[in-house]
Symmetry: C3
Subunit: 215 residues, 3 copies
């Protein structure tokens, strides 16, 4: 176990696990709040939910900064440091993605969103759930390695599902929506959601790089 993730990483830096866990749970909270808010088509509700998501996003930023500063000031090998840094940054990017969609819904104020928007928000929520599960396994990567790998593969599948929803929706949108400004609004909102599913898949890629090295 000399070269393992556990021996290199966990005993020296136990504080990073609760921080990563807390960041993943912040992502889950953002995804849940966003899905709930997406149903309401009024200006007031959209502004209200954007504020909620924005507050969660700021909390995520703070946790990410704490992780970043702890990494900078801890004695830890550069290799491990980079892994934790990339993982935290990828989770933070996913939260930023959700915030970015919520912001656009608020400031563009489009007509009621298509059902594909809810489907995409559900994909993002499922991704967040797999990320929380995977991160909770990191504390003992040997025991939980295959479970973490399964989560990373699920993230890949969900990203593909998001791609398909997006592509079919855009084809339909360009056929049906003749109001250029409305089309631009909805296209950009859906595109940001698709980018968010990519960001979540990237968390899975970071997890896979850790597994390759430490198992």
């Amino acid at each position: 176990m000399n070269n393992s993730f556990f021996s290199r990483f966990a005993p020296k830096q136990p504080k990073f696990f609760p921080l990563l866990q807390s960041l993943a749970e912040t992502l889950l909270k953002a995804a849940e709040t966003f899905l709930e808010g997406i149903e309401y088509p009024t200006v007031e509700k959209r502004a209200e939910y954007y504020k909620l998501v924005k507050d969660i996003e700021r909390k995520g930023d703070e946790i990410n900064t704490t992780i970043h500063n702890e990494l900078a000031s801890s004695f830890i090998t550069p290799f491990d440091r980079e892994d934790i840094h990339h993982l935290a940054a990828a989770i933070d990017d996913t939260i930023d993605g959700i915030n970015s969609v919520a912001k656009r819904i608020n400031i563009y104020n489009p007509k009621p969103l298509p059902e594909e928007a809810s489907k995409m928000a559900q994909v993002i929520l499922q991704e967040a759930q797999f990320i929380v599960k995977a991160i909770s396994g990191l504390v003992d990567v040997h025991k939980n390695g295959s479970e973490i790998l399964k989560c990373a593969n699920e993230l890949h599948e969900l990203e593909n599902k998001g791609d398909d929803i997006y592509e079919l929706f855009i084809i339909r949108l360009f056929e049906e929506e003749k109001d250029g400004i409305e089309l631009m609004k909805v296209k950009e909102i859906m595109h940001e959601m698709e980018q968010t599913t990519d960001a979540a898949e990237h968390v899975g890629k970071c997890l896979k790089s850790i597994l390759v090295k430490y198992i």
Copy 2:
């Protein structure tokens, strides 16, 4: 002072300070030129100012390449190298952002820009001023640490101000502008400016990572 920024970094590599200073001043020059040019709504003036900004951006590229090559060929610890690399890249990205806005104003040729465009250009100029100030302090990070931190915090505040200007403007734009093509032009120009304020804030984040490590 064994582990300090100064002892690790400055005496070994004094050449990096004038290079970073020169890069920051190039950013300031780009921001000043851009603000001046934004007022002129004619095709000719827009082309003229884009050319001026583009020349400055190329100068920035050259300085950044010099820094990059000096880092690659210098004996210096990887840790310090990464810090300087990220800082220079972040300043260069801010210059690129200004160039990108000037380019779009030139090739899209929108109607006279809204007053929010000048406000954003002023935010970018103020950011550039704080960046020049902070970089000039790096040569003695112990003495100037609190001043540099203050600059980084100002960059954060200015980015928030840019966000607010952008969001309120977009809400108004979608309510008032009924010409889809004109809306697209102005929205993208303003969005690039908002991204540029983000890039400048990122310089502040790079400065904060240096402070965390070396003070």
Copy 3:
């Protein structure tokens, strides 16, 4: 030759050269297929070529993942590792760019594309050819250094050419195209192509960083 690219890198890790070569050839195949497909304006042909490009892009992803995993599990100095990693990532990003354009042509289904689209696709193809040539020289960087540098400079020239084609086209597009939705489609497709020429130039920058260090 103690500190050379060859001595540090090649003898220890001969497997990386065929992998990088294979990735560069995958890029070339993507660029060729894309140029061929761009001529056909029907929905069926566009879907068919997008499928072809997508399959090539997935092959590129697999090679990139293999390189990434080999790097993670190989004993190799971090410095070399980062160089290979950045180079492979930059080639992969160029393939992703081509895939992204093919996808947009498929899902937006614009009117027949302007001749500038073919010109840009030819620029991308030429870039891919220089990348294949440069990568094939890496196996003996001392012998081929000046040839590799020439390729990197050609990539820079081609990116400038792509910029010019794009900028002149956009000026014309905003003057001539009065259908906002059609304009949006073509603008975004051309912009993705211009970004792809940037991604290819970035491969040249990665090559230059290697040359600076190892020659």
